[in-house]
C-alpha cells in the first residue's frame, strides 16, 4: 500500500432534480487499498461508484481516477466494474461472453481467459449457454468478465448482494487475492460484517460521507463495540437523528 491516490474526489456532488444523491464527497483511495463504502440503501453508494466510473457526470466538484478527471474513456481500459446485475449475454455461452468482453478491452489471451474461468470455477461450463446457469454461476462469470483486462482498479457495486454465504466467502477470497496482486478495490455494501474485510471504510448516509477509517478506528472513535452501533453514533453525531 502506498500513499498514491488512485481515486480522489473533491466536493463531488450529483443531484437528480431536488434529490442530492451524492453531496460534497471528498474521497481518497490509496493504491493497493481495499476501500469499503458502507451505508443503507439509497445512501448514494451506487451513484458515487457510477460517478467514479464515468457513467454519470458530476453536478459539482470533480472525480479523478488515476489522475484523470472522469468521465474519461482511456482510464476505463484499466478499470474493472461489476454491478449487482449480472450484465451478461444470456444467449451466448460462458466462453463467448468472456471472449467478447476480452475483445472489448483490446483482446485478452485465451490462456488468460482460461485462467479466469478456472479461478471462478466455471471451467467445466465453458460451453454452456448463460441462460442455463444458476444465479451463483452467473455472478461468478460476471466477476470474471470484470477482470478480463487485468484492471488495476476494481469498482464493485454490492457484489455480494443476494448470493449464498458460501459464494460470498469465495468472492472475498478472490478480492483478497486480487488485492495481494496490487489491485485497488472499492466495494460497496450495506452488510456491516463485510466491512471487516476492508482496509478502510467510508460511512455514507444521504449522499454524504459521515466518517472514514478502519473498522477498528470507527469503533474506537465512536466509543462503540460494533460497527452498527458506530454507524448509528455517527449518524446521531451528524444531527440526522437528533
Amino acid at each position: 500500500m502506498s500513499d498514491t491516490l488512485v481515486v480522489e474526489t473533491k466536493r463531488l456532488s450529483r443531484h437528480f432534480g431536488r434529490i442530492k444523491a451524492v453531496d460534497g464527497v471528498d474521497l481518497g483511495v490509496r493504491a493497493g487499498e481495499t476501500y469499503g463504502l458502507l451505508g443503507p440503501n439509497g445512501s448514494g453508494k451506487t451513484t458515487l461508484i457510477r460517478l467514479l466510473v464515468g457513467l454519470l457526470k458530476p453536478t459539482a466538484g470533480e472525480a479523478r481516477v488515476l489522475g484523470r478527471v472522469m468521465p474519461n474513456k482511456e482510464v476505463l481500459s484499466v478499470v474493472g466494474y461489476m454491478t449487482q446485475a449480472e450484465a451478461l449475454y444470456l444467449d451466448l455461452t460462458v466462453w463467448e461472453n468472456l471472449v467478447f468482453f476480452g475483445r472489448i478491452y483490446g483482446g485478452a489471451s485465451h490462456s488468460r481467459l482460461r485462467e479466469l474461468l478456472e479461478l471462478v470455477e466455471l471451467g467445466q461450463r465453458a460451453d454452456s449457454v448463460v441462460a442455463t446457469l444458476s444465479g451463483g454461476m452467473r455472478r461468478r462469470l460476471s466477476l470474471a468478465c470484470a477482470l478480463v483486462h487485468n484492471p488495476v482498479l476494481l469498482l464493485l457495486d454490492e457484489p455480494t448482494v443476494g448470493i449464498d454465504p458460501q459464494l460470498r466467502v469465495t468472492f472475498w477470497q478472490h478480492f483478497y487475492k486480487l488485492n495481494e496482486q496490487g489491485v485497488t478495490i472499492i466495494v460497496s455494501s450495506h452488510v456491516m460484517d463485510e466491512a471487516e474485510h476492508c482496509h478502510r471504510l467510508g460511512l455514507m448516509r444521504d449522499g454524504r460521507l459521515l466518517a472514514e477509517g478502519s473498522a477498528e478506528e470507527l469503533r474506537q472513535g465512536s466509543g462503540t463495540s460494533t460497527l452498527e452501533e458506530a454507524f448509528l453514533a455517527y449518524i446521531r453525531g451528524s444531527g440526522e437523528l437528533g
Binding site: 464515468g54 457513467l55 454519470l56 474513456k73 466494474y81 446485475a85 449480472e86 451478461l88 468482453f101 472489448i104
Partner: protein, 370 residues
Amino acid sequence: MSWVRIGALARRIITQLRRDRRTLVLIFLIPIIVLSLVGYLVELEPTDITIGVVNEDVATVSVADHIIAALEDSGDFELAVLSREEVEEWLTEGRIQAALIFPYDFTQRLATGYEASVSLRLEGSDPQVVGYIRGSMAAIIPEALAGLAGMMGGFIDIQTTFVYGGPRFGTLDYLAPAFIVIFPFFFVFLLTSVSFLRERAQGTMERLLASPLSRAESVLGYMLGFALFALVESLVILLFTVYVLQIDYAGNILILVLIVVIMALGAVNLGIFMSTFARNEFQAVQFMPLVIFPQALLGGMFWAVGTLPWFLRWLSYAMPVTYANFAVRNVMIKGASILDWDVGSNLLILVGFAGVFIFLSSLTLRREVG
C-alpha cells in the same frame, strides 16, 4: 377455479397497461392511422399523368383532333403537344407517362372504311399507371369515334408499345425491386431497437459504457453485424424473385448492394434512436408499425409517389424508403447506372438520411452518460 384470482390478474394487466401511456396511445392510434391511409389509398386513382400527343394527321377535318379534344374533356390527364422526335426523350425523362401518335393517314383511312391505327407508347415502369392509361384510352377513343357522324364503319386499332417493361410487366415486377431493399431496412431497424433495449435491460449496456468502447465503435459494430444479415436477406429476395417469380432485372447488382448497405446504416441508427423511446420490448414492438407502415404505404412501394395527392406526397418525401425505391427501380427496371441523376441523387439523399439518423443516435448515446 377462482374468479377472484382471475379477476386479480385481469385487473393487474389493466392497471399495468393503463400506466403504460405510450403503448396505450399506440394501440389505439396506429390502427386508425394505418386504416385511414389504406382506405384512402385504395380509393385513389393516379393523378398528375401527362400524355404527349403527336398529331401528324393531314386531314382538314381531322378525327385525331376530335379524339384529342375528347381526351382533354375527360380530365383524366394533362396533354402535351409534341413532335415525333421529342417523344422518346420526354418519356425517358419522365415528363410524360405515355405518348399517343396519330399517323398522317389517320382520318383518311377511317373515312374510306379501313382500320386506322394509333400508337400508344408507354413509359411502362409503373403497372398501375399503365393500367390506368390503357383503360382510359380503351374507353375514350371508341366513344369519341362513335359520336362522329359518317364514321360508323371505321375501327381504330391502338398499337401499344413500352419503353420499359412490356405488356407482361405486372405489378409483381414493379414491387419486387422495392422488396429487396425495404425488407432488410425494416429488419435491421427492428432488430437494432430490440437488441439495444435488451442491452439496457440486462445491464450489458452499463458494462459497455464503463469500457473503452466508444459510441462510433458501437454503432459501427452493430452496423457490420446486421449489414451482413441485411445483405444475405437482400440476396435471398433477389434470387427468389429472379428464379421463382421469374422477374427480369435490367440493373447492376453492385448498386443494389450499395443501396442496401446505406439503408442498413440508416436503419441501425434509427433503431438505436427509437430504442431510447421504448422502455420495454412491448413498446418497441409498437414502434414497429409506426415506422414501418407509413413507409410501406407511402414510400412508393405500392402506390407511385408521383400519383399521390400533394399532402401525402410531402410525407413520402420525408421518408428514406421513398428514395430507396426511386433508386432501386431506376436501377432494376430501367437499368440505370450510378452516374445517372435518377440514381445518384437518390443515393445522396439516402446518405443524408443515414447522416441524420447517425446524428440522432449519437445524441441518444451521449445521453446514456447522464
